[in-house]
Structure formats: C-alpha cells, structure tokens
C-alpha cells in the first residue's frame, strides 16, 4: 500500500521540481494526444514549446500575450491568498475593456486632440475603474449578503459578455460598418504606445512588470500585505490580531478587479483597436492557471505567464498549420494545473510503501 506521510519540513527540492514535473507530464500527455490523433507529436509540440520563443517577433508576441495574463494573475494571486475566490477575472477584464474602449471611442468620435502618452494614464484609469466596479458588486454581495463570491463572480462574466454584445450590436455599432457588430476603429491617439514600430508589443507590458514588482513589495514587505494573506490560511489568527476580514474582501476584489480591468483596456486600446463581441478570449480564466502555477506569487506569475502564453500561441499555430482546434491549448492548461496540484502534494508529503506490521517484532 502506498501511503502519504507528512514531511516534518516542506521539501525545498520538491517545490522547485514540482512545476517541472508537472510541465513534463503535460508535455507527455500532449504528445500522446497528438499521436492518437495521427499528428506528428514532435512537430506539434515544437509549436507549443519552441516556436513561441523563436526570434524577436515571436518573443514580442509572447510578451503581448503575457501582459493581460500577468495583470489578471497578480490580482487573483492576492485574492486566493486571502481566501477570496474571485474566478470572474474574465468579466472584470471585459468591463475594463468596455470602459477603456468607451473612452477611446469617445476620443475618436469627438476628435479630441490628445497624444497617445496623455491617453495612456486615462485609459489605465478607465480600465481600472471599470474592472473594479464590476468586482465591487461581488465584494458588496459577499460582504453585505454573504453570497458566495465564486458563483457571483462567475455569473457576472456571462452578464458582462452579454452587455458587451449588446453595446456592439446596438448603441456603439459602427454606423458605416456594413452592420458588422463592432465599433469604429479607434483613432491613432488612443493607441497604447508601442516599444518598436511594426511590433505589436506595447508599453502595457512594462506596466505589467512594474505592477508585479509593486505587488511583490506590497505582499511581503508591508503590514497590510501580510494582513491580507493571514485571513486565508488562518482566519482565527486574523480575528485574534484584529485584522478586518471585510476590508480584506473589499481590498482584494477591488485590486484584482482593477488590474483585470486595466488588462482589458490594454487589449482593446492595444492590439485590437476596436470593440467587438470577441474581446473575451479567456485571459481571465487562463490567468487562474497562471496564478496557481506561479504559486500565487507575483514574480512567479510573471514566469508562469510565459509558459501559458506559449501554450496560447501554440494553440493558434496548431490551428493555422495543422488544422487542430485552438482549444487544444485549453487542454494543456487544464492538464498542467491538475498535474501541478498533484505534484505539489509531494512538497508537504512523501510517498512511502508500507505494510501492516503486527506480529513482526523488531
């Protein structure tokens, strides 16, 4: 019989190895999957593991995908650490996109004279406000009415998606867009400044990296950050210390909603340049995986976002090159997180083969 024994001290070696083992399991499972489908596993896997990192252009595209993942995952990590299960980052992302996109639309249609650098802080503020407001509903209902934040935040994803759909099918539709459900192309002034002309990577990426460092300082170097993290694993200790659980709910949800909203605003004012019904691309959900794979640590989220971005890009390549559905990246994401959770057990436990030992005198 195999038994799990609690380790006296968590294993440092396993906590480093666990993500690597999980990644190996994921790759192996992917290889088997492709083999079963009659595709060359080496060729397809290289689309996920090699090509996203091959060349400058590929790397900038990777950074572009990392940006929303990092921003969403930072907030989710904070939430999960304080036991607030916000899984509606996708909805907060959408509301940020709507707020940021609305602002860009107004600048475009009213022909406001503005430089992109002046617009940058405005769109960040709008996105943050949109996302935070959406998350505030969750905070209010949990704080005031004790409603489960998992279900509420998730239901609000559907509501936000339908709301966006109504906007682009209705009031915000481009009057000269041949009845396509989309807004006009935003003016050049609303574009998030890019690092290099011709590459889509924009300064939002730098914003995300700075946010990660700030979040790291906040979580581990300030009293408030420590307070928020105590409420999760040890609510009784938080009560004993006098840290308010209500304020933890509000803080974590507003921060994570705001960050997800900024990500959404960057997405529409950056690579998309308009609002369509297809703004929701699953970043808010993928970010849940980024947060866990990154150990709910801000700098871990940056590293994990690279892996998950590669998966997303790999899925798109697999679709365009060998006709696999792009959803294959979702399969990878799920397997990666399941494998990681399983492997993480070995950080705090060790496997031991045991036999029942009555009647075997020492």
């Amino acid at each position: 019989m195999i038994r799990l024994d609690v380790r006296p001290v968590p294993s440092l070696r396993m906590s480093v190895l666990s993500p690597l083992i999980a990644l190996a399991v994921t790759v192996a499972a992917g290889g088997v999957l492709f083999l079963a489908l009659g595709k060359d596993p080496v060729r397809v896997l290289s689309m996920f593991l090699v090509e996203p990192f091959h060349g400058v252009r590929a790397l900038t595209e990777l950074g572009l995908k990392c940006t929303p993942l990092i921003l969403c995952a930072l907030g989710l990590g904070l939430c999960f650490r304080s036991n607030v299960w916000n899984i509606g980052a996708e909805g907060q992302f959408l509301m940020g996109a709507i707020a940021g996109g609305g602002l860009a639309l107004w600048v475009t249609t009213a022909s406001v004279a503005l430089s992109p650098w002046a617009f940058f802080p405005l769109v960040v503020t709008a996105g943050a406000a949109g996302g935070a407001a959406w998350a505030a509903i969750v905070a209010l209902l949990r704080d005031r009415f004790n409603a489960n934040e998992i279900l509420v935040s998730l239901m609000l994803v559907y509501v936000a998606d339908l709301f966006l759909s109504w906007l682009v099918f209705g009031p915000w539709k481009d009057p000269r867009g041949f009845n396509f459900p989309q807004t006009v192309q935003f003016a050049a002034a609303t574009e998030i400044p890019r690092f290099v002309r011709g590459m889509r990577l924009h300064w939002g990426f730098a914003f995300a990296l700075v946010a990660a460092v700030l979040m790291w300082l906040f979580m581990f170097r300030t009293h408030r950050g420590i307070q928020l993290q105590i409420g999760g694993p040890a609510p009784a200790a938080a009560r004993y210390a006098g840290f308010s659980s209500r304020s933890a709910v509000w803080t974590t949800l507003l921060v994570s909603g705001g960050l997800a909203g900024v990500a959404g605003a960057f997405e529409v004012a950056g690579p998309m340049g308009q609002l369509t019904p297809h703004v929701a691309s699953g970043y808010g959900f993928t970010a849940i995986i980024v947060a866990f794979v990154g150990r709910l640590h801000p700098l871990g989220a940056v590293l994990a976002s690279v892996v998950l971005s590669a998966f997303v890009i790999g899925g798109q390549l697999a679709q365009s090159r060998v006709g696999l559905p792009a959803s294959v990246s979702g399969v990878f994401q799920g397997i990666l997180l399941l494998a990681l959770l399983g492997c993480d057990t070995l950080i705090h436990h060790r496997l031991r083969l045991v036999r029942w030992t009555w009647r075997t005198a020492p």
């Binding site: 609690v6 040890a234 200790a237 009560r239 004993y240 006098g242 009555w358 009647r359």
Partner: protein, 512 residues
C-alpha cells in the same frame, strides 16, 4: 491463571523523527481498571489508537485473550469487543443521539433496537439520555454520556477511556467512577488514560506510567501516593511556584452584566456576566469546557466586538464595540487557547508572527523594517527560552510547548497593562508550565491585571488570587483562592451557587 484480556509487546510507533511509542509492553487482566499515566505528549493517546486500530504501529505484537490478534481498523477492534470513548468526542452535531449511537454499532442492528438499547443502558447505569434529541443541544457532560452509552451497547470486553474527566465536574467524575466500577465488576477490562493522579489512586487497580513514549514504571496505585506517581510521571520532583500575596490596585478590566448571544451555531450565550480584574492581581475563571469560556474570551479580547459598549470596560472606558487591535493599543493583550491558527499562523515565520500583535517594527505606510522585526523576534526567543531554529523558522515547526512560550513571551514582551490568558499550560510539559506560571506571577507583581481562564483546577488554585466559576454562560461571584475548596468550586461548576443556573434548575425540579 487466566491469560490477560489484552497484552502488548514491543509496540513502536514513529511520526517522522518523533518516537511516539518506543517498545511499549502492557497487560490488562479481565475486570481490571488499568491506568495509563503520563504527561501530555507521553504517547498515551497514540498507544490507545493503536489498540483501537485507528493507527497502525510500526512494529509490535498484540495478544487478545492470549492469542495473537490482527487489528487493522476500528471495525476489527469492535469485533473483538474493544470500545473506546474519545477525548475529543467522535459525535456528529446535526444527528440525534440514537443516530450517533447507531453509527458506532454494527450494521446488523436497526435504529429502533438502538433506541431501546439506549433506554435500557441508561436505566441500568443511571445515565439519563433522550435518544431523539439532536446532539448539538446537549451539554458537554451529556455528550460524554452518549459516547459511554455507545460504548456500553457494544457489550465491550475492553473499554478505553481517554481523559474522560476533562469535561466533568469533580462530582460528575465521581459518578462516572461508580459506573466504571460497576462495569469492571461484570468482567469488562478498562483502560483509563489520565494525567490526573488523584483519580488514578481513587479508581484504578493497576497503573502503567509512560514518559517520552517509553514505559518507565508499572505499579499498583493503591500503594502509591500522588507525589510518588508524580515523580514517576515527570521523572523529577514537581517544581514549586514561589509567590507572595497580591497587592491589588485599581480596577483595570471589568464587565457589567455582559449578555451576548453566541456566534457559533452550537455555542453558549453569556448572561449577566459581571467581573472585575484589578491591577496587580490574578483572577482565575474555572469551569467545565463549553460553558461559555470561548464566548467570554472572544468578547474580552475584541475578536467578537458585538457586546454593548459599556458592558466591557478597560480602565473605565467602554470598549465593548472596540476591535481587538484597538484594545491591544490600550494595553489589553490576550493569549488564546489555540496556538496554531489563532495565536500564530502556522506557515508564517516567527518573525512575521510578531506582526499579529506587535507594531514596533513598522515604519511609515506600514512598511516592515525586516531587521528590526527579526531582532524583536530573536529577543523573545532568547528571553523566554524558546527552542527554535531562529526567527525565520515557521511557527508550525515548533513543539506545542515552545510555541506557547513564544506566544506568551510575545505578549509579555509588550508589557501589557491587562493580560487575558486561556489555558496557559495546556499540553505543555511540566518544566515549561512552571516557567510560564512563574512569568505570569512576575507580571502580576509588576502591576499587571491578569485574568486566567482554565479547565485545570490545580493550575487555578496555584496561580489565582481570586476565583470565579463559569457555568452555562453565567459567572459565579468571586471567592479568594485561600478560602476556596475543590468541593465548593466543583459544586459551582455545576452552576450550584446562590442564584446560579444549576440552582434555578434544581428549584424548578430539573436535574443538574
């Protein structure tokens, strides 16, 4: 000579690097009440779980009626006729008494038979129980009766009781002993686990003493005194607490007719609790667990700030609605009963755990001065003799006693004006316990007002200057410890003081 009912040979059990049982041998004769004596952490509970099949030993032999037996699960144990009454009850709050009992019996009996059985055993042993009441409305003592009836209904040949009197008044404990003697007279063997010496002398026929997981002695308690048993259990003379009479000053902490519904679904409501703690004295609150201690402590510490503002006063200021952090700022510190998860966060370092109650290492905007924090934590570790790898060791890596020393040290280090302490030495070895008690007395002598809530009468008699008793959420008047007797406090623990809840019940014709 008949074979022993139960015999253990060479039983060994390790948890990681900790040896819980080391080559333990033991024999229990039919009809014998056999004590297992040892301090907290001596390995008593682990040994009993091994006998009951709930824990697998790493090595050793078990003989039942002289023949080797293979007990792999509690089901196997029950099939042999072994029953157990647990220290932390194995009851289900939302189910009825009968359902709870049923779950502990074999599959072949019907619920109706169980109800009849409960009525039968209850009458036979004088244990009053209504089979159809849900367990969550029962008192702690009644819950233990459910456990005992469940054990008796299995017609056991060996009954294991793990610290059964921890939840009983001295009088109720005497009644339990009668039940056990009656049971032993029918030929049932009893394993009685305790660290209370006088109980063992009064009840048991044979005694095995464990220390550090090893059997250090096997004796006839009738020929021993509590002092000699204590020496066997601790391995040394128990340290004496030196103390001078108190010189009480002004009132520091007081409650005025504090009435509060419980937060917990199965908790106890506080009713008209009035209490004064003066600077320079130690006030003790005795009581059987589950009589409102948790609720009172939470209301005093500020973890539960729902009391009327004026019902709790600190130096004359109303603080009933003030939170825990703000009360601490005004000089009220608290040491809770649970160390891991309440007094300290298991996964955080000892240094970061300072931040739960201490703010000296914080700079502007809540920025943590990490060097200052480590120095502060190191200071506590050094001054209060905490054995730890250093300030960056995780709280959960400490033993219970060392963590308690750290938490008490952290609060003492803050030089509180009022200190509320729950179960200051619960689960702590004797050396650490006497050290903690000495620190509390020293704090009192320095002019701090100290309130100690404990379920250990001996501890309260040793520490407190005045005693209260809490029963069913109500507080007795106080009595100077020098004038109190164990009998009187024991009666009060049943609520039997003038105007107490037990008296009211007695007057109304109910049973206490």
């Amino acid at each position: 000579m008949t074979a022993p009912r139960l015999e253990l040979r060479h039983v060994t059990k390790r948890y990681g690097d900790v040896v819980a049982n080391d080559d333990v041998a033991l024999a229990v004769a039919p009809g014998e009440i056999h004590a297992i004596l040892g301090e907290n952490g001596a390995g008593k509970s682990t040994l009993m779980k091994i006998v009951y099949g709930a824990v697998a030993p790493d090595a050793g032999e078990l003989l039942w009626d002289g023949a080797p037996a293979d007990i792999r699960s509690p089901h196997d144990a029950r099939a042999l006729g072994i029953a157990m009454v647990f220290q932390h009850f194995s009851l289900f709050d939302s189910l009825t008494v009968a359902e709870n009992v049923w779950l502990g019996l074999s599959r072949t009996v019907s619920l109706r038979e169980v109800v009849e059985g409960i009525r039968g055993k209850a009458a036979e042993y004088g244990l009053d129980l209504d089979p159809h009441r849900p367990v969550h409305v029962l008192s702690v003592g009644e819950r233990q009766r459910v456990e005992i009836v469940r054990a008796l209904l299995a017609n056991p040949r060996l009954l294991i009781l793990d610290e059964p009197t921890a939840v009983l008044t001295p009088q109720a404990a005497d009644k339990l002993f009668e039940t056990l003697r009656k049971l032993a007279a029918t030929g049932c063997s009893i394993l009685y686990i305790s660290h209370k010496l006088h109980e063992i002398v009064a009840l048991c026929h044979q005694c095995t003493v464990l220390r550090g997981g090893r059997v250090v002695a096997s004796c006839d308690p009738a020929r021993e005194s509590t002092a000699s048993l204590s020496r066997l259990m601790i391995g040394a003379e128990p340290p004496r607490l030196e103390r001078r009479p108190a010189s009480a000053g002004a009132i520091a902490l007081s409650t005025r007719e504090l009435t509060l519904e419980s937060h917990d679904r199965f908790g106890v409501a506080l009713e008209d609790v009035s209490l004064d703690v003066r600077a320079g004295e130690i006030v003790g609150i005795a009581g059987v667990s589950g009589n409102g201690q948790q609720e009172l402590l939470a209301a005093l510490s500020g973890e539960d700030p729902r009391a009327d503002a004026g019902a709790i006063q600190l130096f004359g200021q109303p603080i009933g609605r003030v939170g825990a952090a703000a009360r601490r700022k005004r000089g009220l510190h608290f040491v809770p009963e649970e160390r891991l998860g309440r007094g300290a966060v298991p996964a955080l370092s000892l240094a970061n755990n300072m931040l739960l109650t201490r703010k000296e290492a914080l700079r502007a905007f809540g920025w943590i001065d990490r060097a200052a924090l480590r120095d502060q934590a190191s200071g506590v570790l050094r001054r209060y003799w905490v054995k730890a790898a250093g300030p960056s060791a995780a709280a959960r890596s400490l033993s219970g006693g060392n963590l308690q020393k750290y938490i008490v040290g952290r609060e003492l280090d803050a030089v509180p004006k009022v200190l509320v302490v729950a179960q200051p030495t619960w689960g702590v070895d004797v050396g650490a316990a006497s050290q903690i008690r000495a620190e509390l007395v020293a704090l009192r002598d320095a002019g701090c007002a100290v309130l100690v809530v404990s379920e250990e009468l001996e501890e309260l008699f040793a520490l407190a200057d005045r005693l209260h008793v809490i029963a069913k959420g109500r507080l007795s008047p106080s009595i100077p410890t020098a004038e109190a007797t164990v009998e009187q406090i024991g009666e009060w623990m049943s609520g039997l003081w003038a105007g107490g809840p037990g008296q009211a019940a007695a007057l109304a014709g109910g049973s206490p």
